[in-house]
């Protein structure tokens, strides 16, 4: 049960347009950086992205192969569990639908892996059907390394820790295994509109 804090009125700055800012969030115009360790530096000639399906078969794309796939440009709002939201961000990348179109058995759950060791888990239904991309351009420019470049996952309808930076591949299967922050008490699913920040929310 919440109670009033004496004297607090709030400035409601940058509250944002109605229906765009989830509960507990505030709008920022800069682009904060959050990560648990040093930024991995990945050379493009060494970069690859792999999709491993539920049957254990793996597809692999080099950087030039990957960036030659059909891309989509999307403008979306992003919501970080640390309370900031950023509206109208524009990204270019490859839809997960495009990648999964070539996969035999998609399975029910996905675990994304990143350079540097980060992982995050999502239901396959949350990354298919036009809901997720592997993005490599931001606001028309190559994605900066501190923001996840060469390429990061983009799943804007979930808290942004699900949009793993520095992605190198995804393994799909029929079992759900928690990723990095999901193992440290953050919510397994992470819907910002239901304010699913931490386990049990």
């Amino acid at each position: 049960m919440s109670f009033v804090t004496r004297g607090f009125r709030g400035r409601r700055r940058l509250e944002g347009p109605p229906g765009r800012v989830p509960p507990g969030q505030y709008v920022t115009t800069d682009f904060p950086v959050l990560s648990a360790g040093p930024t991995p530096r990945v050379q493009l000639e060494e970069w690859s992205f792999t999709v491993t399906d539920a049957g254990g078969d793996t597809l692999e794309w080099t950087w030039s192969e990957f960036t030659s796939l059909p891309t989509e440009t999307v403008t979306v709002d992003i919501h970080c569990v640390t309370k900031w939201s950023k509206l109208d961000t524009t990204w270019e990348g490859v839809s997960l639908d495009t990648l999964f179109a070539r996969v035999g058995s998609p399975g029910s759950h996905a675990l994304f892996h990143s350079y540097g060791g980060y992982t995050t888990n999502l239901p396959v239904e949350d990354i298919t059907g036009g809901k997720a991309w592997v993005a490599f351009r931001y606001e028309g420019e190559p994605l900066a390394s501190e923001h996840g470049g060469p390429a990061r996952l983009l799943v804007p309808h979930l808290y942004f820790w699900k949009s793993a930076k520095w992605v190198r591949g995804v393994v799909v299967s029929d079992s759900d295994r928690p990723g990095f922050w999901e193992s440290y008490g953050y919510h397994n699913y992470g819907d910002p509109w239901r304010e699913q920040r931490y386990a049990g929310d």
Binding site: F8, Y26, A36, P38, G116, E146, D201
Partner: protein, 253 residues
């Protein structure tokens, strides 16, 4: 490490302000008394919620500045110009006022004496807050792990926890404290006076050969530069843990 994981729902808890410590002209520590506080590890943070009379709420995250000690939770808040929550906490909150907190949150950027050392703490600005929780835990537990603490501030007056750090550095044989002052420094200042760079990290950080556990916290540019340089100097990326701090994480590039 999974032992640090937070399990079960984190409920909002009432917490009363019992004491304030003005650390610098822009930074204030707030001692909160929270009856059902479940305890925390050094380096973890809380979410804090304020509610206005019309029901409007604002939430922010703050690092905890000291190791767990009963019902006491200490946070250290830096004034954010044009901020919504920090000006209230620094200028308006009085002893006896109640706010809501929940936590502890985060289980990766933590250190406790059982983790051993050597321990290397590197903080920029108010990024020293979670590092101070680790240092205080080390001192309080009489840990064998030797500690080096390197902080960067603009000026002498901006050094958070300055007096306590001076005392700890002079009384504890296993603790070394170095501050660099990047904008102004007193005439008799003998420490470094430039931004943390490769030479400073090579000189004042435990060498890679002794495999220190490194914790880096500060604004984005600071953390990016320090963490990258540590890896270049030969520190294993797995031994370098980072956390960003500040108004909303830093500048846009």
């Amino acid at each position: 490490m999974a032992g640090a994981a937070v399990r079960g729902r984190l409920n909002w808890l009432a917490a009363g302000a019992t004491q304030f410590i003005d650390e610098t002209p822009r930074v204030r520590s707030i001692v909160l008394d929270c009856h059902d506080w479940p305890g925390h590890l050094p380096g973890q943070h809380i979410d804090l919620r304020l509610t206005a009379e019309d029901g409007y709420q604002a939430q922010r995250s703050y690092s905890i500045a000291a190791p767990a000690e009963g019902d006491r939770v200490i946070i250290t808040v830096e004034l954010v110009d044009d901020g919504e929550v920090s000006p209230f906490l620094i200028e308006d909150l009085r002893v006896g006022d109640r706010i809501e907190i929940r936590g502890p949150i985060g289980g990766y950027f933590v250190w406790e004496p059982t983790r051993g050392g050597p321990l290397q703490l590197i903080g920029g600005g108010s990024g020293v807050v979670p590092l101070m929780a680790m240092l205080r835990a080390s001192v309080r537990s009489r840990s064998d792990a030797p500690v080096r603490y390197l902080s960067s501030a603009r000026a002498y007056e901006d050094l958070i926890y300055r007096a306590e750090l001076e005392t700890v550095a002079s009384e504890e044989s296993g603790v070394e404290v170095v501050h660099t002052l990047t904008r102004n420094h007193p005439p008799n200042w003998t420490g470094p006076t430039r931004r943390v760079d490769r030479e400073m990290l090579a000189e004042h950080v435990w060498p890679p050969a002794v495999s220190p556990l490194c914790y880096v916290c500060g604004p984005t540019g600071f953390v990016e530069s320090v963490a990258t340089t540590l890896v270049e100097l030969g520190h294993s990326p797995e031994r370098v843990k980072t956390e960003r701090f500040g108004p909303s994480g830093g500048v846009r590039r």
